[in-house]
Assembly symmetry: C2
Homo-oligomer: 378 residues x 2
């Protein structure tokens, strides 16, 4: 993790250890022990490949290397590296040796590379393998730390971010579409446990739209094993009906979103969350012009509205959605909101919006919606 | 551009045409004419390569293909494709032909691919070239649109986003560091002309810090050719001195940032900008916990604080900074703020912050800073 302060780092690492244990237990991957040392976490297990593959999707892990542990004696390092090389290097293939060393040993990193290289060439002379330092087919990595050495052939990319729980909770306005799902995930990645909030617009949407949101929430929760899996489902169709009946057509989307913000703030208060996340991106929808975002923002009083996708292009969001696993769910057939006007305002006037709101009992609408909230565990 | 509505699309395309002209004129790349048609922009020029390379960094362009125009007669398409193939296909190389067709012609796309492929194989029989549809070394693309055909061998990725000016102006809190520079650029990419605002913390920083910010602004403006190149430089050191003297040490960064927000709102009002953009990311700095972002947000009254990097990991931001061209400038030696305490509050209490502010004349500090602003053209 790229954490600056020493104390923060230690706290984050401890949190990460807890999260790792939860994930391994959840997947029933047994391990002997976890050790935290000098910015690394070592897991002793009989199932290094399985462990590694599960951990690549734990927030806060930048990389995972399934490794063989040995002592830091050169003799043993040579034994292990040659054995591993023997197991993977094909005929005619190229390899490189990299070494990283911490502590006092009787050899330098350079010497490790040289000696391991020589031994491998010698033992596999029949296979005609060769050293290629610039573009090798295999890399034999040796990491020496004090009395131990770790030998590994691959390093898997982790998802990065910070350990879940290192930040306060956040409420996510989750429609189930591509954007809101990715936005929610991005705040999880930075350490915030997510409380998804789905505004149910039936009859302007239908049960498929609701089912889609629940499916997305499930998928998002697969990234937060060991954390609560609850989602707020709040009826919003009645509110929307009032807007359709009583407010200027052009403003429907903006008025609707402003009520959503207010409801999300209530949920944030109930959950002691410190903010709200939405999938809005500048210009992505007519209602998401920089101008309108300002008008929307005015409705949120006590909590910031966080919009991690602000600068994302659609293709970038979709690419990320594929990686997260929400894309296929989000593009499923779902009824999009039929209350949305054909030509929504792109430059709504705050004064006009407020005037429209004065004709409604917004407080009551918000109150009743929140009261009717269902909290589901998915 | 991935724009939904027809009218928005047309307006955006016109804006893009204007921006393209500005860029080509700026770089003195001459062209004959620009034509907008069915979601494409065609530029007739004697300098297709140079034109293409300049346009890859124009916001709103998803790709550029330097092409040869011909009539849509099969005979002419064959002439042009064979000539191009002759110029680029090396001995033993593989190629594929792709065709996209709009309008009524006497042939199908498949037929174009087949005929072009056959002709190329025949004419270059000495060179031993071969067709490879899955992984070709060269792709000959033919795009037929009504009476014209365009033949091209490469498609350059554009930077994407929306045309600059399609959104209102935004004020960017620009420190010159990696994060704020990338955040500013991301909002430009989505169409917002940028007004950078640099808060000058001298004597807690020094003239190198200021110079760095101006250099970054210059680099950012290279992405917005034809738009104003002005930056607000606002003295903030005196304010910071007051905080250091009179406020709890742990709160310095939060109080400082809150004053910055207020100043940025004033500049936004002066400039009729619709928002403020900052480089904050969840958890990136001690002062940027989700908790603190909420406390910061409370200081901004009339404008949203947009944080496009919220979900970015440091490496992701740095990668983008390299692409934008700000990275090398941002990592230059610059004095980081010496007023920052060693252990800033990570969970500042809003009430404590407000109490500290009540002991200061914040209004006056903001007023005087804004009055002393220098507006530089870089």
């Amino acid at each position: 993790m790229g954490v600056k302060g020493k104390w923060t780092r230690i706290a984050y690492e401890k949190l990460l250890m807890r999260n790792i244990k939860r994930v391994l237990n959840h997947h029933v991957v047994s391990y002997e022990k976890l050790i935290r040392k000098r910015g690394r976490i070592y897991i002793k297990t009989e199932y290094p490949e399985e462990t590694a593959s599960k951990l690549t999707s734990v927030f806060g892990i930048s990389s995972v290397s399934p490794a063989v542990q040995t002592s830091s004696k050169m003799k043993e390092i040579l034994l292990v590296t040659v054995k591993l090389a023997d197991a993977v290097l094909e005929k005619g293939s190229s390899f490189a040796v990299r070494c990283h060393r911490v502590g006092k040993q009787l050899y330098t990193s350079m010497e490790v590379c040289r000696d391991v290289g020589e031994q491998v060439l010698k033992k596999l002379v029949d296979r005609n393998v060769r050293v290629d330092l610039t573009n090798p087919q295999h890399t034999i990595s040796v990491e020496v730390r004090e009395d131990h050495a770790y030998v590994f052939l691959e390093t898997l990319h982790g998802v990065g971010g910070f350990p879940l729980g290192s930040q306060p909770k956040i409420v996510g306005l989750l429609s189930g579409g591509v954007d809101s799902s990715v936005a929610c995930w991005l705040t999880m990645k930075r350490g915030c446990p997510l409380i998804p909030l789905y505004l149910d617009n039936v009859p302007f949407t239908n049960e498929h739209t609701t089912a889609r949101a629940l499916d997305v929430a499930k998928k998002l929760f697969s990234w937060s094993i060991g954390f609560p899996r609850k989602i707020y489902v709040v009826p919003h169709g009645k509110n929307l009906q009032v807007l359709v009946d009583k407010s200027p057509k052009k403003l429907t989307c903006i008025l609707c979103k402003r009520i959503m913000y207010r409801i999300s703030e209530r949920v944030a208060e109930i959950e002691k969350a410190e903010g709200v996340v939405t999938g809005e991106a500048i210009g992505e929808q007519a209602s998401q012009t920089l101008h309108n975002l300002r008008v929307l923002n005015e409705a949120a009083v006590n909590h910031p509205i966080h919009r991690p996708l602000l600068g994302f292009d659609k293709e970038e969001t979709e690419e990320l959605a594929r990686k997260i696993g929400t894309f296929q769910i989000s593009i499923q057939k779902a009824k999009s909101c039929s209350a949305a006007p054909k030509r929504p305002a792109t430059k709504a006037k705050l004064e006009a919006v407020k005037q429209a709101e004065r004709k409604l009992d917004i407080e009551k609408m918000v109150d009743e919606s929140v009261k009717a909230a269902e909290i589901l565990t998915v």
